[in-house]
């Protein structure tokens, strides 16, 4: 199975944020909000690091 980098990142962020939200928060509403926050944070950091690395000749 070949997934694009972005789809693999989305899937990874979705699963990890779900587990983190259920472990760290107790109320369903808090879990949902924290899960969304972690998910979006994963995406934001990935984009930021991607753009920072873009001009670096690796």
């Amino acid at each position: 199975m070949i997934l694009s980098h972005f789809i693999a990142l989305l899937l990874f962020a979705l699963i990890v944020s779900t587990v983190f939200a259920l472990i760290t928060k107790n109320e369903p509403r808090e879990q949902f909000r924290y899960g969304v926050f972690v998910f979006l944070s994963f995406l934001a950091v990935a984009f930021a690091v991607g753009w920072i690395m873009y001009p670096v000749p690796l």
């Binding site: 199975m1 070949i2 997934l3 980098h5 693999a8 899937l11 990874f12 699963i15 990890v16 779900t18 587990v19 259920l22 472990i23 107790n26």
Partner: protein
């Protein structure tokens, strides 16, 4: 009417749910079960929904890791740093040994998604360790 309002304003908040810790032997047995079968610890404690979601997350990630030709590490003393990868991998429990027996985690380095697959396999094991620790806290009455 005023009395009713006063009662509403000054009524004491509901008492927090009393947490009853299990004995340590039962807790360790439950945690061992949760390590071997992801999500089982929460199911045994009575948190069905949470356990099923955890099981789905870990097993889905494990399956994706294998499908992306990720590598499952064995215990190799020749390569000391591989021990950390092995510890992360065995966090998945029985699915790890099943995949090993079926020769599924060989890992194809030339495959485009090899790195992603290997990372998925590490992270699902590490997530399962966190899930087991969560079950331990619940069983010990430290968490609702």
């Amino acid at each position: 009417m005023a009395q009713v309002n006063d009662q509403e304003h000054f009524s004491t908040p509901p008492a927090p749910e009393e947490l009853k810790p299990m004995n340590m032997a039962a807790t360790l047995a439950i945690c061992s079960g949760g390590w071997l079968v992801p999500g089982l610890a929460h199911v045994l404690i009575g948190r069905w929904v949470r356990g099923l979601i955890f099981a789905t997350c870990v097993l889905l990630m494990f399956a994706f890791g294998l499908a992306m030709h990720g590598k499952l590490y064995d215990l190799e003393f020749d390569e000391p740093l591989h021990v950390f990868a092995f510890i992360a991998n065995i966090g998945t429990g029985i699915p790890y040994w099943i995949a090993e027996r079926l020769n599924l985690g060989i890992g194809t380095m030339t495959f485009p998604s090899y790195d992603y697959g290997t990372t998925y396999l590490w992270v699902c094991g590490l997530l399962n360790y966190l899930i087991v620790l969560d079950a331990f806290d619940i069983a010990q009455g430290r968490k609702p």
